[in-house]
Symmetry: C2
DNA sequence: CCGTATCCTCTGCGATACTG
DNA sequence: CAGTATCGCAGAGGATACGG
């Protein structure tokens, strides 16, 4: 993740925070509540554990995502959106609905997300 | 620009369309109306003409941006947002205001955009 | 079940120079 | 002023294996 030293526009800062192949979909999947790593890994088609973890860590660096860790075996963690993350989510919801409309106009009938 | 063959989420499609270091700022700058290439090049700090053109072309491929070309010398073109582009813009406005709020909370007093 | 370390590939970005 | 062509590099993304 490349956060620049200097921004001329607030938009760019937020955008850099969520730039990355899987960031937006991770946030999207966390919209309904806490998720374990394994659950995310299973739900997000095409991702592998390493990339998931890397993106989650970057999202945590930006305070978009946080996690709870529970001691004991089997290990258990819960990733979830912070309040800041939920604000970001509200922007993504706009894109989600634009995308849905776009796909429908293109004749796609896939049932997605 | 990497548009995938298959999407499980409409959000990802829209996101891939505007992924790229300069895409969102270009759209942002076009929010107030038509702009020549030279004007964009001057206004967007740090970009060079080649990258600007490449990103504009990709945005045109996705029908987010369109342009008018006027014959004669000196050459003149006008890049502008399509209706689809304006929808995308409405999502970016959310990030802009989140970013502004975030920077203010961080103690930044810069006057941006 | 969570998380880290290595290694490798591919492409986004950028510097530079050139054409109409 | 608008647009194209080359070339190089850093870093994002991914396969795989290992450790707590």
């Amino acid at each position: 993740m490349k956060i620049r030293d200097k921004y001329t526009c607030p938009l760019e800062l937020i955008f850099d925070m969520i730039a990355g192949k899987w960031k937006c979909i991770i946030i999207w999947r966390l919209r309904l509540g806490k998720q374990s790593l394994a659950a995310l890994n299973k739900d997000i088609e095409g991702i592998n554990q390493k990339m998931l973890l890397q993106h989650l860590n970057e999202l945590m660096d930006c305070k978009i995502v946080d996690k709870n860790t529970y001691e004991g075996y089997p290990l258990r963690v819960e990733y979830f959106l912070t309040e800041f993350g939920k604000e970001i989510l509200s922007g993504l919801e706009v894109f989600q609905s634009i995308g849905k409309k776009y796909l429908k106009a293109e004749g796609n009938v896939i049932e997605l997300c």
